[in-house]
């Protein structure tokens, strides 16, 4: 569907040439402008490089340029005649895995880069695990630096086989492998002439044509952000609930249940400043009016009253990516942020940790920075949740340090017990 935004995350190890790929993509898609390119040329020359180092286009922080590595996720924007793109460029070094998680959380497509000379490494498995856990719709394995292995088909095939076995262990059903050379531009925007054995699309061609994320498998849910009660001359008795439609589409007349209270009513209207809507697809920010006067506040959730309904729960089992230097242990007290609700949480226990080398889970009693594991959390008040696998927006949560406010973990609910 042209005109839609496609969100892409790129991930790779140090020196896989990821910034070069992004620079090349932007450059060849003509999203790099003359003044930006000449600034890069001047900076490259000052550093004594041969030619323009396109990585300098994207490494926005001084420390990144000095160390020649990407530290923080950077967002890039470009458009072609077919589509607009938001590209989250995330760093490769293991200590910055949390940024890969960040980028993947909103992505429709994950582009995982490997160096054709080194093949699948631990970071590759980690990135594949993150993309799978966060349920990114499409995964691209971009085998880079094909120019340095003489564009050899058997090298590419070997890496694809290696990645296949990792994908199998993770339960990643499909992925798209593309051989590229970011430095020379082979198969980045235009199909390469150096790899006649490859019949697939160039990377940009794939991104332009891939279908965006499929709709969630559950009916609409609207987490209430605000209650709209203007009490103005033009709207004296208006009462509506402002929020974003999640999962499926919402229509006037839909029967709904308001959770956690459980009261039932119907949608009287879906309002926007530009007029009422006959249908609000997932993602639309709207104001919902209900037929009956019900006590509803921020943090409540309006769900279409059809199975499967979300669970009202104070007991959650979830996969988490731990993002803090301080380890996570049983008994830790944190704040849990889910949809528009903040509740106090205590970690009941760490159940297991994923070994990213073998891609198997083993029992563990704590999670350290960048660890991915399964935990059980008890809540002071209920949340209204779905498994992440059925609905991203009502299955995802953050764990937050109640004192500093720091975001400590990204959580994905595997089961919510009513």
């Amino acid at each position: 569907m042209p005109g839609q935004l496609l969100r892409v995350v790129t991930a790779g190890s140090v020196d896989d040439g990821k910034s070069t790929l992004v620079g090349r993509l932007l450059h060849d898609a003509k999203a790099v402008l003359t003044d930006q390119l000449s600034a890069v040329e001047v900076a490259s020359e000052r550093r004594g490089y041969d030619g323009a180092d396109l990585a300098l286009l994207v490494d926005g922080l001084r420390a990144e340029r000095e160390q020649g590595i990407t530290i923080d996720v950077a967002y890039r924007y470009f458009a072609t005649a077919k589509r607009s793109f938001v590209l989250a460029d995330t760093p490769g070094h293991v200590q910055y895995t949390r940024n890969t998680v960040t980028g993947a959380s909103t992505a429709d497509v994950a582009v995982i880069l490997v160096d054709a000379r080194s093949g699948v490494v631990e970071q590759t498995r980690r990135h594949a695990a993150v993309a799978t856990l966060l349920r990114v719709e499409h995964v691209v394995l971009a085998v880079n630096k094909m120019d340095l292995v003489d564009y050899a088909e058997d090298v590419f095939d070997g890496i694809v086989r290696e990645f296949c076995s990792a994908a199998d262990s993770l339960g990643l059903a499909t992925f798209t492998p593309i051989p590229i050379a970011a430095l020379t531009g082979d198969n980045v925007v235009e199909r390469s002439t150096a790899m006649a054995w490859y019949g697939g699309p160039a990377l940009l061609e794939f991104l332009e044509n891939v279908a965006p994320r499929a709709a969630a498998g559950v009916p609409a849910r609207v987490p209430v952000q605000l209650v709209a009660r203007p009490r103005t001359a033009s709207h004296p008795d208006y009462r509506g609930y402002a929020g974003r439609v999640e999962a499926g589409p919402l229509r006037p007349g839909d029967p709904v249940v308001v959770l956690p209270s459980g009261q039932r009513t119907t949608v009287a209207g879906i309002d926007t400043p530009d007029g009422g809507l006959d249908v609000a697809e997932a993602g639309r920010s709207v104001v919902v009016r209900l037929t009956d006067d019900i006590d509803i506040a921020r943090g409540d959730l309006i769900a279409v009253d059809r199975e499967p309904l979300p669970a009202v729960t104070r007991d959650v089992v979830a996969t988490v990516c731990w993002l803090s230097d301080r380890p996570l242990r049983a008994g830790d007290r944190l704040a849990l942020r889910h949809t528009t609700r903040d509740v106090r949480a205590v970690v009941d226990g760490v159940q297991s940790r994923l070994d990213v080398t073998t891609l198997t889970s083993a029992a563990a009693d704590e999670l350290a920075l960048n660890d991915i594991g399964t935990i059980r959390v008890r809540l002071a008040e209920p949340i209204v949740a779905d498994p992440y696998a059925t609905s991203r927006s009502t299955g995802a949560f953050l764990l937050v340090d109640p004192h500093s406010g720091a975001t400590m973990a990204a959580g994905m609910i595997t089961s919510a017990t009513p």
Partner: protein, 308 residues
């Protein structure tokens, strides 16, 4: 980075604009849900006009429940100040002005003769934030503007010195924005982070939003300075040896008159501006902002100190 797109910039299918609008409205509503004393920074520039338009839509049919503040260097284009005041009174909003001149008079900052007042805004902004006890400060900055801004979060925590620590930012996951902060800290919020210059103009066209006339082609007395066209104003008189000419120009960004350049243009309306933006080979800030040209890390350094 501004994207260049093929053919007409005006696409019939504007789904992507609706996506961006929905995201921005969601962010603005989260600010209302999570903070006690938010303020919108409004300069009369196109990005802040679009942000205010989005805020009005976010809270419709209620009024925008935020304060509105302009950090005024005292060196702004008079047309923009006139627009600012008229626009806000039409929306029924009251403006707080944080004045750099007052900061200078009070000895809080020191002006360097011949230098732009642009960097001085940081102290005035931080003073105003603490004086009004604002806990959320909404700005119209976009990630595509500049490579340090590309690293910015939508919700970005500032310590009690107003500092940005780019290496210690909170991960921002899904659309779960974490506004928790300690007393004395505040959070900068950028609802149009994911918009490009072209998106802003396409949205201005779609929504029929009014912007100050200096964004459209007009005749103005200018001098060539440091590779930029600088309008001749009372704060930017021609220097010795500079020739004043009258050219058809417009502004792509509107900031302090002493550091904002004009571009040659014949685009007299929004459709023409869209076409021109789509074809431009120079970035918005590269063409017009002297403040970003001083070094490779000029923006990062200013942001670390608490700049917008």
């Amino acid at each position: 980075m501004t994207a260049t797109i093929d053919s007409a910039a005006v696409r019939l299918d504007d789904t992507w604009l609706t996506d961006l609008e929905d995201e921005a409205i969601h962010i603005i509503r989260e600010v209302a849900g999570q903070f006690d004393r938010p303020v919108i920074l409004f300069s009369g520039g196109k990005d802040s006009i679009v942000m205010l338009h989005l805020a009005a839509k976010a809270f419709w049919p209620s009024r925008v429940p935020f304060a509105v503040m302009h950090v005024d260097t005292g060196h702004n284009f008079p047309e923009v100040i006139e627009f600012r005041d008229r626009h806000l009174s039409q929306l029924g909003l009251v403006l707080t002005v944080a004045s750099v001149q007052e900061s200078i008079d009070a000895g809080r900052v020191h002006e360097t003769p011949g230098q732009t007042r642009n960097p001085l805004q940081t102290v005035t902004l931080l003073d105003a934030i603490s004086a009004h006890r604002f806990d959320a400060v909404l700005g119209g900055a976009r990630r595509d503007e500049e490579k340090a801004r590309a690293k910015e979060r939508v919700f970005s925590v500032r310590d009690d010195f107003g500092q940005w620590d780019p290496r210690n930012q909170r991960p921002e996951l899904w659309d779960l924005y974490n506004g928790r902060h300690r007393p004395g800290e505040h959070v900068r919020v950028f609802p149009i982070s994911n918009w490009t210059e072209l998106d802003v103009w396409a949205y201005i066209q779609r929504e029929g939003i009014e912007v100050p006339g200096i964004y459209y082609a007009h005749q103005r007395e200018v001098v060539h300075r440091d590779g930029m066209l600088l309008g001749v104003t009372e704060w930017t008189p021609p220097r010795d040896g500079e020739t004043v000419t009258t050219e058809w120009v417009r502004y792509r960004t509107v900031g302090d008159a002493t550091c904002t350049g004009a571009v040659l243009s014949s685009a007299k309306d929004v459709v023409a501006v869209l076409a021109e933006t789509a074809e431009s080979t120079i970035s918005e800030r590269g063409a017009t902002r002297a403040d970003d040209r001083s070094s490779e890390a000029a923006m990062e350094d200013r942001k670390r100190q608490g700049y917008f």
